[in-house]
Symmetry: C2
Subunit: 424 residues, 2 copies
C-alpha cells in the first residue's frame, strides 16, 4: 500500500499487444491496493520516424518546432495506454508534461526540469485514477512552449514525479532484469545486483552501463527517491538503487566491488611534443572545451625522452573526435605542439564499488588480473569508488571477464539470466 | 496588404513533398506583403490510422483520451509545416489549439468553439512570423483538457481565427477549384461560381455540396468573415463566399439560381396507416428525435383512401436508418400505425438561389424539366431560396443534368474545369 511511479520505455509499448500487456501489469498493481502514476515513452520507433520526417523537410529544423513534433509520440502512447487501462475496468487519465506540471528551462531538445507542480496528478490519484504522464517532455512557463528533455528524459520525468509526489518507489521498467555486475552478453556469469547505492550507480552509468542514465540517477540521489530497475517482460524483482537501509536487513554490509562496467564509445587523442611549461595543459583543454567537447581521462607523460617536451593524452566521446581534432589543429602554431594522434580503437574498463574505499589493494589486484590475462593497460584513472583503465578495444571483452572473475563476482547459482539488450 | 488566414486540409499536407509545396505558397503570400496565419489539418490518413490504433486497444475508448490521441496528428503536421517554411527563409511558429487560444466547451469529440483569445497569434504575426495553428482542436478552459471539434473542425478553426483576428479573408484550400453550379463529375458543363452568398452556401452545404461544412459557413455568416474557397494545386481564383459588395463591381445583380446540389446519403421512412388525429405526427417525431436522429424532409399524405388513417414519410441520414426504425418499431402499439417502410435508394436534388425569392415560377420550371426528362418526383419541400425534390437514386444524375441545363447554368466557355474529388 503506497504510491508507486512506474516508467515504461518505448520497447514496452511498441504496439497494441505490448500496450495491453503493460496495462494489465498496471491494473494488477492498482488492484493490489497501490496508487499508481505511470510515465510512458513514445511507442517503439516513433521518435526516430518523426526525426526522419523532419529531416526530409529541412536540414536544420528549428529546435522549438522539433520539440513540438517529437512530443506527438508520447501523446499517442499515453492516450492509448489510458484507453487500454480503462478497457480493463480501471479509471485512467493521461496528461502531457505541461498538464502534469513538469516545468523546465527554455533549452529546446535538452531542457532541464526546474520544478514539478504535480497538483493535477495528485488530484487524479486521489480520485482513484491511474495517472499516465508523457515522459521526455515539459513546458517552459515563460512562453507556454513545450520542451523535450533529451536522452534519458523519460527516466528523469519518472524520478522527478516520484520526488514531487513523495512516492514510495520509482519503478523503471526495461527489457533487462536489473543492474548486473557486468554486461551479461560479455560475461555470461554476471550476477543481477539486488541493491546498489546511488554513488555506485552513478559511477556505473558514467562508465558505460546503459541501464540507467546518469542524470536520472543524479536526480534520484539528490531527492532520495528509491529506484527499482526491473523487467517489463518478467515478474522478477530487479535492482533497487537506494542509500536507505532495508527494513529487517540491519546494516547492509557493503560489498567491496559492485560491478565491472565497460565502454566502447570513447576515443583517445594524443598531443605529441608539447612544450613542457606551465599552462600548456590548460591551453589545450581550453581549446577542447571551447569546441563544446567533454573530456574524460587525462594522462600527461613524464617528460623524460626529450628534454622540454611532453605528450598529453585524453579520452573523449568518439562522436566528438572530428570536432576536437579540428579545433586543436587550428591552433597548432599557438600551442607549439609537434603532432596529433587520434585513436578510436580503445576500450575502457571500470571497476566500481563503494567498499573499495576501505580496502586498499583493489588497484593492484585489478592490474594483476589484467597482466595474467595478457592485456596491456594504456591509461589509468582512479576515484574514491572507481578504478578505470584503457585497453585495446579488441581486448576489452577478455579484460572484463578476467576482472569479473578475479574479484569473485561470477554467479555461482544456476539462475537463468534474462537479458534482452541495452536499456533505453 | 492585409491579414490572410489560410487553411490547408489533410490532402494538401499528405507527405513531405506536399508540405514543401504548401510552404512555398505560404511564403509567396508572405513575401507579397501580407501577414499570414495558417490553419492545418493532420497529414493525409493520420487521423484514420490513429482511430484504427485506438480500436485495436479498446472497443469503447474514453472520449477524453480519444481527443488527446487524435490531436497528435495536427501536432505533427503543424511543426513540419513550420520547419518547411523556416527552411525557405521565413520565420514561422506553430501553435496548438490551446496555445492559439481556441476555447471550447467540454464536449469531447464534437466540441463547440466558444471564444478565441488570439493574443499569442497576434503577437507572432506582429513580430513578423507566419503563425501555424492546429485545426480541429481547442481547449476546455475549466479542465485544461484538449478537445476536438468533430467534422469540418479545421475549416471552423480557420474561420474562427479569421474572425478573432479581423482578417481580410479566410482562404480554404482544397482539392477542387471552388464551389460549382453542380458536381462536375455528374455535370461536365458545371460552372465554377465566382461568388455566392452565405445563405446560398448554407443551403448548398445542407443539400449535399461537400466543399464546405455547414458549421463553418454558419460561423462565417455570423461573424462576416469572407471565405475564399480555392485549390491548393492550382493558382486560380476560387469562389468567394460573402454578402459584401465587391469594390468596383457596384451592386451585384443576384443570379436567380446559383447551383444544383445533390445528396445520395439519405433514406426515406414511411409510417403507414397512422391514425389521422391531432398529435400523431408530433408523437412520431418525438420518438425519432429521442433516438438522436435528425430528420430532413417530411410529407404527410392527404388521408383520402382510407378513412381516419394517413401515411407519414420523412427523410433522414441513411446511417441513422437502423436506429430510427428500431425506435419506431418499439412503440408501434402506442402509436397505433400499421407498418413501416424503409427505402434507402432515394436521391435528393436541390435548386439553390437567393434570386428565386423575387422570381415566381421557379418550382414550376423545375417540375417541368424533370417531367420532360421522365423523372418521377416522390417528395417536395421548398424554402425561401431553395426547392428540394426526392427522386429514385438511379435517376438522380439525369435529374441534376436536366435541371442544370433547364436553368441555363451550363458553361458556355472552353475553360477547363479542374475537379479532383470531394472537399475535406
Amino acid at each position: 500500500m503506497g504510491l508507486i511511479v512506474q516508467k515504461y520505455g518505448g520497447s514496452s509499448v511498441a504496439d497494441a499487444t505490448a500496450i495491453k500487456r503493460v496495462a494489465k501489469r498496471i491494473t494488477e498493481t492498482k488492484r493490489a491496493g497501490h496508487d499508481v502514476v505511470v510515465v510512458v515513452s513514445a511507442m517503439g520507433d516513433t521518435t526516430d520516424e518523426l526525426i526522419d520526417l523532419a529531416n526530409e523537410i529541412s536540414p536544420m529544423p528549428p529546435a522549438r518546432e522539433m520539440d513540438i513534433l517529437l512530443t506527438a509520440g508520447e501523446r499517442i502512447s499515453m492516450s492509448l495506454l489510458a484507453m487500454a487501462i480503462a478497457n480493463l475496468g480501471v479509471e485512467a487519465q493521461s496528461f502531457t508534461g505541461q498538464q502534469a506540471g513538469v516545468i523546465t528551462d527554455e533549452v529546446h531538445g535538452k531542457a532541464r526540469i526546474i520544478d514539478v507542480k504535480a497538483s493535477r496528478i495528485r488530484q487524479a490519484v486521489e480520485t482513484g485514477h491511474v495517472a499516465i504522464v508523457a515522459g521526455f517532455q515539459g513546458v517552459n512557463p515563460n512562453t507556454n512552449d513545450v520542451t523535450t528533455l533529451g536522452r534519458g528524459g523519460s527516466d528523469t520525468t519518472a524520478v522527478a514525479l516520484a520526488a514531487a509526489l513523495e512516492a514510495d518507489v520509482c519503478e523503471i521498467y526495461t527489457d533487462v532484469d536489473g543492474v548486473f555486475s557486468a554486461d551479461p552478453r560479455i560475461v555470461p556469469t554476471a550476477r543481477k545486483l539486488d541493491r546498489i547505492t546511488y554513488e555506485e550507480m552513478l559511477d556505473m552509468a558514467a562508465s558505460g552501463a546503459k541501464v540507467l542514465m546518469l542524470r536520472c540517477v543524479e536526480y534520484a540521489r539528490r531527492t532520495g527517491v528509491p529506484i527499482h530497475v526491473r523487467s517489463s517482460f518478467s515478474g522478477r524483482e530487479g535492482t533497487l538503487v537506494t542509500d536507505a537501509p532495508i527494513e529487517g536487513e540491519g546494516q547492509m554490509e557493503q560489498p567491496i566491488i559492485s560491478g565491472v562496467a565497460h565502454d566502447r564509445s570513447e576515443a583517445k587523442i594524443t598531443v605529441v611534443g608539447v612544450p613542457d611549461v606551465p599552462g600548456t595543459a590548460a591551453a589545450i583543454f581550453e581549446v577542447v572545451a571551447g569546441a563544446g567537447v567533454n573530456i574524460d581521462m587525462i594522462v600527461q607523460n613524464v617528460s623524460a625522452a626529450r628534454t622540454g617536451l611532453t605528450d598529453i593524452s585524453f579520452t573523449l566521446p568518439a562522436s566528438d573526435g572530428a570536432k576536437a581534432t579540428a579545433a586543436l589543429a587550428a591552433v597548432q602554431e599557438t600551442l607549439g605542439y609537434e603532432s596529433l594522434q587520434y585513436d578510436d580503437t580503445i576500450g575502457k574498463l571500470s571497476l566500481v564499488g563503494a567498499g573499495m574505499r576501505s580496502h586498499p589493494g583493489v588497484s593492484a589486484k585489478l592490474f594483476g588480473a589484467l597482466r595474467d590475462a595478457g592485456i596491456n593497460i594504456e591509461m589509468i584513472t582512479t576515484s574514491e569508488i572507481r578504478v578505470s583503465v584503457v585497453t585495446r578495444a579488441d581486448q576489452l571483452d577478455d579484460a572484463v571477464r578476467a576482472v569479473h572473475t578475479a574479484f569473485g563476482l561470477d554467479s555461482t547459482d544456476e539462475e537463468a539470466v534474462v537479458y534482452g539488450g541495452t536499456g533505453r
